[in-house]
């Protein structure tokens, strides 16, 4: 929460450690802090999986195995409750989303400015410590889920999906009419339907990713505000009564916000997971005729 000696505005701490391959093209840059942290989290999860794999017991599970089995059971039950058919990919996907997003979110409770200053020791100007605060990560996950949704829509009910794209929400009713003029209007409305349907479909990954990004970004900004407004940036600030009280209040507020933000991180991980499962479940629902 607090880190002594922070300087500069909040905006300065919201910059990424990035490398640009083409200054003229903003797409051609890579956020190394996000990449480094996600690779570290992913590696940690894989190492943990390998470690746990060597310790699995067939009998009554204990400790970490027990916790992981409870988590997998929860994920399996969530998927089972939402899915009309069994798809072996969904539960591992949901587990990965939940654990990965939660671990990334949890990094937000590290003291504000800490990673920034640690990175400064290595000569870096900026470093963002929460990968989910980088829109690229939520969007990447949401797009993966969206591609899977499209894949299953086309695989399981292609005709129905295309009909929905072209004939919903207006044209279907009009085309069912016996009046030829109404039918023509229905045909003319097909492009409008397509636009609306595309917007509807695109809203899914957008809302999924921006919800996570917005919550975590706001949380980080509040951490930075608490640190900037209430915590002393230099040792001299602690020597006065006001400085001491401000520091104490800052620590209390920061601790409270950390606990709340931990809960928010867990909640956002769950929301991201459950919405992904629901979107995929909708794609698996049998077509209504």
């Amino acid at each position: 929460m607090a880190e002594q000696g922070h300087s500069g505005g909040i905006a300065e701490h919201l910059k990424y450690w990035s490398v640009s391959f083409d200054d003229a093209n903003p797409f051609m840059q890579l956020h190394l802090d996000t990449l480094l942290l996600t690779v570290m989290v992913a590696t940690g999860m894989v190492v943990f999986a390998l470690w746990l794999r060597g310790r699995l017991v067939e009998g009554a599970p204990t400790g970490v195995q027990n916790f992981m089995e409870a988590l997998i059971d929860f994920i399996n039950q969530t998927v089972k409750d939402n899915f009309p058919v069994h798809n072996p990919l969904i539960a591992p996907l949901a587990l990965t989303i939940f654990v990965f997003v939660f671990l990334c979110n949890t990094m937000d409770i590290l003291p504000a400015y800490l990673m920034h200053h640690v990175a400064g020791l290595f000569g870096l100007e900026s470093f963002r410590q929460v990968p989910t605060n980088d829109l690229n990560l939520p969007v990447a996950m949401a797009v993966c889920v969206f591609i899977l949704v499209l894949y299953y829509e086309f695989k399981l009910k292609p005709v129905h999906f295309v009909k929905e794209l072209l004939l919903q929400p207006f044209a279907a009713l009009l085309l069912e009419s016996k009046n030829p003029i109404v039918k023509v209007i229905g045909v003319l409305l097909i492009p409008l339907n397509l636009v609306l349907k595309v917007i509807e479909e695109l809203a899914k990954p957008l809302s999924l990713s921006f919800r996570l990004f917005g919550n975590m970004f706001a949380g980080e900004v509040i951490f930075l505000l608490i640190a900037s407004l209430l915590l002393a940036s230099h040792l001299e600030g602690l020597l006065s009564i006001g400085g001491f009280v401000s520091e104490f209040v800052g620590l209390l507020v920061g601790l409270g916000w950390s606990l709340f933000h931990l809960f928010i991180g867990l909640l956002q991980a769950f929301i991201f997971m459950i919405l992904s499962v629901v979107y995929l479940s909708i794609a698996h629902q049998p077509a209504e005729h």
Partner: protein
């Protein structure tokens, strides 16, 4: 806050993580849980089958006990009937034997009496002859002879 190459890298990291965690974490744990669940379900089914078998065995035991009791009751009743029959037969036989013995004894008594009578008659006759011989040898006196004969007869009968 823009989409850039990081997006591509995150897609790669995310997809790789899904595949790796599926193979290394979810798969083994889920297989283990399914195997355990199956084992528990089999155990429960076996326990339920055992309970059913126990109930069936208890019912069978109760039924067999009931049959055995009924059979034992029949056997006891038959034995009692047989005992009564044997007793009745023994009594009848004993009665018949007793009657036979009595009849035989009676016949024997009759025979002995007849024999004794015959013997007595013979003895009386012989005594009478003897008495007559004596009378003839000595002297005939009606009063005296008659007293003598009666005395001899009495004597003979008394000795018989």
């Amino acid at each position: 806050m823009s989409i850039d190459l990081t997006f591509i890298s995150q897609v790669i990291v995310f997809v790789a993580m899904v595949v790796l965690l599926w193979k290394l974490l979810y798969g083994p744990l889920n297989d283990l849980m399914e195997a355990r669940s199956k084992k528990i379900a089999e155990g429960l089914a076996a326990a339920e089958a055992g309970l059913e078998a126990k109930a069936e065995a208890e019912a069978e035991v109760a039924r067999q006990l009931e049959d055995a009791r009924a059979r034992a009751h029949d056997i006891i009743a038959a034995a009692e009937r047989r005992a009564a029959e044997i007793n009745e037969e023994a009594v009848t036989r004993a009665r018949k034997e007793a009657e036979g013995i009595l009849d035989a004894a009676r016949e024997e008594v009759h025979a002995e009496v007849a024999k004794a009578r015959q013997q007595l008659r013979e003895e009386v006759a012989s005594i009478a002859l003897l008495a007559a011989e004596r009378v003839l040898e000595v002297e005939l006196d009606a009063a005296k002879h008659s007293q003598l004969i009666e005395g001899i007869v009495d004597k003979g009968l008394g000795s018989a």
